[in-house]
Amino acid sequence: MYLTSATIFVHNFKMPSTEFSVIVRRMPAHLSKFCRLRRRSYHSYDHLPYNPYTPSQEKMLSSALKHVPEYGFVKQSLVQGCRDAGYLDTTHAVFQDGVFDLVKFHLYTERNKLAALKPQIDEEEGKSIGKRIRRYCTERLKANEPIISKWTEAIAIMGLPQNIPQSLEELAKLSDEIWFLVDEKTSDFDWYTKRASLAAVYSSTELYMTQDNSPRFEKTYQFLDRRLAVVQNAGSSISNMASWASFTCFASINLLQSQFSRG
């Protein structure tokens, strides 16, 4: 019996180490840049949030954003931003992805502004999830209004092959942020379908917005309403389908049981 135990004994004991980083194996540096897609999704309440930008980078990029309505998402905005922040013109080389870093910064700052709106939106829209999602999408789209003339440029930059993974990550983060702010609590596969559907709605609406000339972007917000209605209908029809299927299943089982119990 000892021999059998010895042969099947599996060491699930990890070798101790003083360095925590050894526990979770790190990717080698030359490969890690291809895997930036990996999101470290864990939000802590006791720890300060993880900021991917240093204070000087934030200063440069926020000044650069002020020049975007004039120059667009081009190197000139970055250079002007560095100048305004008090650095040399050539400091823009710090941003390895160039103008894409500027686009990402815009997405990052606008996404983080949504959390501040939560008390107001909760008060105004009450418990309705659909209405609150509409409000958050609307507020986020309004943030694009000042630079909408340059937004097609930004979308083109985001669509470059080397930028696509990070652009999708930003879209996913926005979708996750909105669902989190409406206090949605799902723990199974629905978590993914909800976020995917909202990401699709938001990105299609943003694209529509770039070619919308109506006053105050009314047509964009109507487009948004239509897209959200489609998703809600799909959601309710799937749950109706599931109810029907489970009812049919149990009814059939009961019927079979009653057949076998006869005679």
Binding site: F9, V24, D46, S187, D188
Partner: protein, 244 residues
Amino acid sequence: MSYKHMSIPILRSSRARVRAFAPAGCARLMEYNSTAAQSHDTANAKLPEKFPPLTPEARKFLSRLIRVDQAGELGADLIYAGQHFVFKRRMPSVAPLIQHMWDQEIRHHKAFDDLQNRHRVRPSLLSPVWKIAAYGLGVGTALMGKEAAMACTLAVETVIGGHYNNQLRDLVRILDEEVRTSTNGRASDELRALATTVSQFRDDELEHLDTAVENDAEKARPYMLLTETIKNGCRAAVWIAERL
């Protein structure tokens, strides 16, 4: 903290092997919780200072921890659900025992669901797969008999107990580092609470393991085939759930 003084005894019963490491986490946790109780100043309550941001490695570890534990509790919940479904009809005397263990698993599942929502961790992508597999395993082993069902519980709880132990070991290491680098010699409440939760759940799972052994788990035939298949299946599921 050195682990060299702890030898790994090769013991007959799998549960004794798991138990050998159980005290390690508990002693440290009691130490952290008592330090917290001493330094808590109720007369002069200020807003708690925030700790420096977690490293990407720590966040990756914590998100994996919550994801895999949530998937594990979902699996355990449904295994007992499957076993209860069969025993309620075939062997009603065993049903209350299964119901008791099931109730604890439901509690664990709910706790991890809450943690997953609170900390915005993404759940396992293969949740539907885990649901079907776990329910099928529960029903299948229950149809094989009471001993087989108990052997299934033994196998699953051995893997889960060892897995929680490993997580606890790493969590305690994170807590150590936080204490070392913090200004007031305390770790964050959030992480201490998480470690306490994992420790309590580990103890509950080991209790289920003991219950299974007391209820003729080792009399199941074929014992080795059944338990080792289930254990390896669980280990594979744990590895996949951590990543997917």
